[in-house]
């Protein structure tokens, strides 16, 4: 077992129950998990296995019904909406299958968006966003709208937006799901490269080929870790 300062995520007996009418649906049922700093972890499982719910809890987008989730020393399960918002702003960057870019804003503005909510002045926001875009090879696309980009470029923009706040944790939910195989491979290469430079990554997928890029893979079924 790793020493405490090397552990960035420590989830203990985490459960998430959705009340749907008379019967409650249990999406997570007692998950205990550790992620080490600098690790690239893949969470695999079929749809409905609870892997996305786990990721959303790590992202601070929903709260566990039971259990403790400690990320970088802070317990997510006790945070209110405001504290969760600043957690999302400061500690995590997330990319989604559907990219989730704001269509009306330029690539540069999309990437700078998290810094707006962090209260960073406009010129510094744009400067930092441009630096991240340059690093990911998206510099020439900075002034385009998302609709003018290819799928691969959209996901690179989303990664740039996730990285602009220099988060401790990069979370990816089926990031290649809307990409063709060439673009998907390129994206995984990029994530691997970020990992190689020290970025902690948790990636959720149902595809074993994609999971094989990770250092470690855990498998989930019916809200539990099964391996």
């Amino acid at each position: 077992m790793a020493s405490p300062d090397q552990v960035i995520v420590r989830a203990t007996d985490v459960a998430r129950v959705y009340p749907t009418g008379a019967t409650a649906v249990s999406a997570l049922d007692g998950v205990t998990l550790e992620v080490r700093r600098g690790e690239f972890l893949a969470v695999m499982g079929p749809s409905g296995s609870g892997k996305s719910t786990l990721l959303n809890i790590l992202a601070g987008l929903e709260r566990p019904t039971r259990g403790a989730v400690i990320v970088d020393g802070a317990d997510l399960s006790t945070m209110d909406e405001v504290a969760l918002a600043s957690y999302r702003r400061e500690k995590v960057g997330m990319i989604f299958q559907a990219f989730n870019l704001l269509p009306r804003y330029r690539v540069l503005e999309n990437v700078a968006l998290p810094l707006l909510f962090a209260g960073v002045p406009l010129d510094i926001r744009l400067e930092r966003a441009r630096a991240v875009l340059d690093r990911l090879g998206m510099g020439p696309r900075a002034d385009h709208r998302p609709s003018q980009l290819s799928g691969g470029e959209m996901q690179r923009t989303a990664i740039a937006r996730a990285l602009v706040t220099e988060p401790s944790l990069l979370l990816a939910d089926e990031p290649t799901g809307n990409l063709d195989s060439a673009n998907g491979e390129a994206l995984l290469a990029l994530i691997s490269e970020l990992h190689a430079r020290g970025q902690t990554v948790v990636l959720v997928t149902h595809d074993a080929g994609i999971a094989s890029h990770a250092q470690r893979t855990i498998h989930m079924r019916d809200g539990r870790i099964v391996n």
Binding site: N56, A59, L61, E62, E81, V82, A85, S86, R88, R89, E90, M94, F96, N100, L101, L102, R104, Y105, L113, P114, L116, F117, A118, L122, R161, T165
Partner: protein, 411 residues
């Protein structure tokens, strides 16, 4: 920054909503400007009647008016007491001699001889020719311009002329002849001044002693006996500042006499116009309320339409306050734009209406009908902003409370 972008995006809807606010604001501005303009006009014509520092003492008990007035005698004793009232700077007695006729002017030239003291407020600053009455003069008069023109070609030409005032007896008032009092007597006076007949077309200003004498003659009394029997017709008190007028009025009433002041009339008018303005503002306010419902509707639509966007912003770290601020800023933008446009529309609309009216009814120096002062302009802008914020409050709270995850999944 975000608010401006959103405003620009749904341009048609934002424009229509803004237009609603603009029309509401314009209507409010127009109606209140109309009330202010009307009040200004009424006050201006009152200011032109006389001095706000004046209090007129009338030979009645205070409170009663018209036929129910109980007569009281304004004696020399009372005049002495009036002079002792604090802030009563000057006190001028007046005695109205019996009605009569200016003989040289023919039988239509009915006159009301006002016996006044030199320097009395009625005999100030309205001369067409000559001078006002001076102390210790006798057998002189200051007459209105219309009577002067019956006698001579110009006001100047009548100066120094001796005219005959036939006082008492029957006089013609309009087209009817009334009996009058006592036997008519003739008094010859020298015209020393001619005043602008805008103040009065029948008043002839003569020295107080002359008027008392004429009144006494008419009743077969001595001047002193007359003063005791009937007293003066009125007393004008000039206070040292209009702010003391209410106090002076109160002191006069405590002495048991009716007192009248333009200042108090104006205060009454203020109250009356306050109600008038309130009603008009209420009508304009309803227009603004309708606009507010428009804003609320637009904002509810915008929140719904941008649910996914709200989810994305929350996912990348927007706090609930940030989300609320974005939508409130949008509502405020509509309010400020609408308010400014409405203010301009209101002012221009007022000008346009004034222009049309002055074309229909040309006057040399028309009084403004709509008056937009600074408090009105700022108040209208502030109200438009306030109304927008209130209208945007519930929709923005809805956006604020949205769950990030379900907003992200919203299609």
């Amino acid at each position: 920054m975000l608010a401006f972008g959103n405003y620009a995006r749904s341009r048609l809807r934002s424009t229509l909503t803004t237009l609603g606010v603009a029309i509401g604001t314009a209507l409010l501005v127009l109606l209140i400007a109309l009330a202010t303009g009307a009040e200004d006009n009424v006050k201006r014509s009152i200011f032109s009647i006389g001095d706000l520092r004046l209090v007129t003492v009338q030979p009645f008990q205070p409170g009663a008016t018209g036929l129910s007035a109980v007569p009281r005698t304004i004696s020399d004793d009372l005049v002495a007491k009036l002079k002792a009232i604090p802030h009563a700077q000057s006190v001028y007695r007046q005695y109205d001699a019996p009605l009569g006729t200016l003989l040289e002017g023919g039988e239509d030239a009915t006159i009301r001889p006002q016996g006044i003291e030199a320097g009395a407020p009625v005999d100030r600053g309205d001369l067409l020719a000559g001078r006002h009455l001076e102390p210790s003069e006798h057998a002189v008069a200051v007459i209105p311009g219309n009577l002067a023109r019956l006698v001579a070609a110009t006001p100047e030409a009548v100066l120094g002329r001796k005219l005959t005032l036939r006082l008492g007896g029957a006089v013609k008032l309009g087209s009817t002849r009334i009996g009058g009092s006592g036997t008519p007597r003739d008094y010859v006076v020298t015209v020393v001044g001619v005043f602008d007949e805008q103040a009065s077309q029948t008043s002839v200003r003569i020295p107080l002693e002359d008027a008392l004498l004429a009144g006494a003659d008419n009743r077969g009394l001595t001047s002193d006996a007359l003063r005791q029997a009937t007293g003066y017709s009125g007393v004008a008190i000039e206070s040292d500042d209009s702010q003391y007028v209410a106090e002076v009025v109160k002191s006069v009433q405590e002495l048991g006499f009716s007192a009248f002041s333009l200042k108090q009339v104006i205060e009454q008018i203020d109250k009356g116009f306050g109600v008038f303005r309130g009603i008009l503002a209420g009508i304009g306010g309803v227009a603004l309320l309708v606009a507010a419902i428009g804003i609320a509707n637009t904002m509810v639509m915008a929140v719904l339409e941008r649910t996914r966007e709200i989810g994305i912003m929350k996912a990348v770290g927007a706090s609930p306050r940030d989300i609320r601020a974005i939508f409130l800023a949008e509502a405020a933008l509509v309010g400020v734009f609408g308010g400014v446009v409405g203010l301009v529309l209101g002012v221009l609309g007022g000008r346009a209406i004034e222009l049309v009216i002055s074309n229909l009814n040309p006057q040399a120096n028309p009084a403004p009908i709509f008056v937009v002062d600074l408090p009105l302009a700022l108040g209208a802008l502030g109200l438009a902003l306030l109304v927008s914020l209130v209208a945007g409050f519930l929709p923005s709270r809805r956006a604020m409370r949205m769950s990030a995850l379900s907003a992200l999944r919203y299609e």
